[in-house]
Symmetry: D2
């Protein structure tokens, strides 16, 4: 393998730049040329790509987002679009591709691999919902951002004796809510994976007041409920004062944490080494503190559940 490319696709996450940097520098160490594709699969179709050298990835490790840009592409969902993208890579002599992104991006990678491109995927999404890896790139930063919000809400919740609701990301998946909620000492955590009744939430809040809790923090995954609607319901039902924050895309930004930079760097190194050694159609995951290679078909086909032990622990600790 003499020439590879790197692409970030789908929703961005903190740590993508650290991954790109590691792909480039490790590849150069292995004597492999690296190209960067701009704006995701759309850029691959538009032949928007350029060679990267070591200096071109300097001073980016600390930045959120992705300096290559990212986008969603309708055209790439068609076989014609995919073929055009693959043709562009081949025209440049690019044999291998490192794809950094979430579920949709890795699915796209799998489709490219069927057109003859050697593919290695990296799990890059704040949602931590990719099968085959304990952690995804961006998750640690996102939950720390959510935690920072909870820390601040705690100050004012405590001063007023209020119920504070914070809505975090997670349409189909409660990892951010569960993790930030446990770390933030939330009294109630609502995730898409666990059905709940708003009345039970109200009951629990009323009970905890009678036990001496002076304020409450509720963390809600966007896929579990609208925090705004739930806040109104609680207020109407219990008479408790509620306030709501919807932190939204703030969770996607910011300088990546140590853990995300290390994870991105390690996975990226392994991705390049796999390509160089002739292995592809895989995603590099991180399991039990080791880089592992999992079939990309499994990574995009299987579902990763939240940890039930963590959910149980959160409940015990909020007593």
């Amino acid at each position: 393998m003499k020439k590879i490319a790197v692409i970030t696709s789908g929703g961005d996450c903190p740590g993508m730049n650290a991954a790109i940097r590691a792909v480039v520098r490790v590849a150069l160490t292995c004597g492999v040329e690296v190209w960067g594709i701009r704006n995701g699969y759309a850029g691959m179709i538009d032949d928007d790509m350029a060679k990267l050298d070591s200096r071109s990835v300097g001073d980016i490790i600390q930045k959120g987002g992705t300096f290559l840009g990212t986008a969603r592409s309708e055209e790439f969902k068609t076989l014609k679009g995919q073929q055009k993208a693959a043709d562009n890579l081949q025209a440049h002599g690019i044999e291998g591709l490192v794809v950094i992104g979430g579920d949709g991006s890795l699915t796209g990678a799998k489709q490219l691999s069927e057109l003859g491109i050697k593919i290695v995927g990296l799990p890059g999404t704040i949602d931590n919902d990719i099968w085959g890896t304990d952690y995804t790139i961006g998750f640690d930063t996102a939950v720390n951002t959510a935690l920072d919000a909870i820390n601040k809400l705690r100050d004012t919740a405590s001063a007023h004796g209020r119920v504070m609701l914070v809505e975090v990301m997670g349409r189909a998946c409660g990892w951010i809510a569960l993790t930030a909620g446990l770390a933030g000492g939330a009294e109630i955590i609502l995730v898409p994976e666990q059905p709940f009744s708003s009345d039970d939430v109200c009951k629990k809040l009323v009970e905890s007041r009678s036990k001496g809790k002076k304020y409450s923090i509720i963390v809600v995954a966007e896929g579990a409920s609208s925090a705004i609607d739930l806040g109104k319901y609680i207020s109407a039902k219990t008479g408790l004062e509620t306030r709501v924050s919807v932190i939204g895309h703030i969770q996607r930004g910011g300088a990546p944490t140590v853990a995300d930079r290390l994870l991105a760097s390690r996975l990226a190194e392994r991705a390049v080494r796999a390509l160089v050694d002739g292995r592809s159609d895989i995603m590099i995951g991180y399991q039990s503190n080791q880089c592992v290679e999992v079939p990309i078909a499994d990574a995009v086909g299987k579902k990763k559940d939240i940890d039930p032990e963590l959910y149980r622990l959160a409940d015990v600790l909020s007593q």
Copy 2:
């Protein structure tokens, strides 16, 4: 004056603790005893107050919220409630009172003063909407928190080429939106004081794309529009992708900034010195880098507008 009390009332804000600490330590230096009243005027009515010494305000300067607690009180809105509160103070021999809070709290202070309590108010609100002072305690922290959110949104906005809307506090007043928006390089800032049309917003966004801006940040004061509704409108009208964050009470929390701690400390010192010197029925403001005493009736009766120069500058700089 031998004995004074200090109270935080209404919405909390970062810097209230720094103000309480300064009231206590300056008063002790002047040979005056200080009591702390818990949970705002409600606590004054319930006689929930205790003597404070220098150590009891140790290790609080860095904390958001108010360790005395705060609350809103319906009972205090009645003359009977006010009389009960005043009676409690007098029963303890408390002659003077430092009230830290926003418009409503200072109005309450004015009412107490009519019942014979010597009152000095401090402007404590994140909204910066109190007449007679250039800055209110908590404003600098709140706008820096909002700015931090904007910084993070910028990463992901840049990666995706999106329109990011962030809704900040300010029901009747656009100081937070204007200041955070200008500092954050927002393209559009919407404040309650300036009428706007959603169509003009859409037009401006479309134009800026044609001039080469790849993404846009819109800061919306809650009193100007719902960012969620506006985001939907823009998306439907222009086809641009929008994302919304409603940062809410996060703005009220967090460790106070240097500026808020200094402001709180300076105003608090002057408040105590005014009481000791026999002046009351005033609010201590900060004008042109000096503590000033303004009649409390003016502070609660007059309206402070946003700075039109700042609004104009924000527009020039977003080109």
Copy 3:
């Protein structure tokens, strides 16, 4: 087991409060009474301890330091001191003890266990140097604090083209330097475990300038070198401008990160369950994302080395 105690000892670290909170709340769920010992083993000797309930550990999960206090005790190093401490526990009917601390504290725990106290240790130190656990409580927060410093130095290093040295903690152990250095994109990382020559450092700096690097960041563990002395040497030898920061105990403070709060909570839960189930003389470690029980004699007797793979990766990525 009806009654246990919890103690923090030795150097404090972020996450100790989260661990105490979890010990208390899990124990109460198991029907076990919990006492808190103040100021480490010194407080145990002085019988400075009190019963804790669920509310007494409210609002502490977000705080650095330890609300129980910690101290070093000369008296506890004697058998007489240890016996007095054990007697005090027994006088209160305390059968089990959870000790949160580093190497010295766990060694103390082992000694107490020889006097009949059932002991479970938790690895609490920013240094990450305890055998038997992949991570220690406080490490993730400390390296993120060091990383934040490096992020800031990068701004000014880049503006000036300077060599910035930052000295981080780690007398005998380079985990903080290695991890923060890798994450921070440091060009050179100096750890106690790896001998180096100052002249080689100078040579590498000069070479990297000739390759186009405009500035350099060097992370130095305090046990590897004095950053101040090294900075002077580099400057004299190469003529490059150097600047030095010694971040010191700042690394010990601050609100704990998500990872540290989770680690503390999980380990603490397991510690209580082990005591309740009759297991002791162990430390709870975290290996491959699982809580594990290791003999406390191993935890204090064996040495944990830095990860050589990480060191190699740091070198590749700094090219």
Copy 4:
């Protein structure tokens, strides 16, 4: 005036980028072309400059450092160097120059003005030591960074009952130490402007212990003392445990605060308007919340003292 240039010179500070951005965008609004000079006066001598447009200053407002770079230049200290620099500007048709920097940079500006270049200076230095302005660009960010360090030291100081020393910047000037110390609740603040004896420091520490203070924070300006030496002295003399942090150039980095971005934007706007209106040989200062124009000869010739009132207040509040 048809064409101006902007330069950052001397030590960098947070907010320089915000100032450059405002100079460019305001000038373009006025129909004036703007050039950016790279690496300070050295770049002016080397003719290292290029035209800037509105997009070229996009996405920089949030960044520390200066994207133009900065450097110190020995050659510029000679008349020959200055003449060469002036000739380069004139060769490009550049008539006016906005210089952003500290005392040395503004002195350089004054020298250029004597060679026929129309000059307006902006006070850009974290030290806040420029006569004619209440605040310099970068000061607010630097003191908030120092405060963050103090906040973290407080956690661990409190846990251990130690004396923590933190050395901040300020060779000839105590503004950072005084302001951060007051805001951080430091017990002792040492500044170059106020002579002190190490024995008095020791005495005060011992007394405060006897009054019940459990730990102490000392903020030392680098120009007042070496914190490392002082820490050793205190420890030897009093037996109190001391720990030292030297935060150094960390204070120069980081995203600028709201206040610094606003200050930079306002001053920059006024600088451009002054040039356009034909006024030069001035520095734009900020006094009593207003932009003012002061003769550049005064700005570099007069000394700005620390505020004695603030120093006195710090002492009262540390009781």
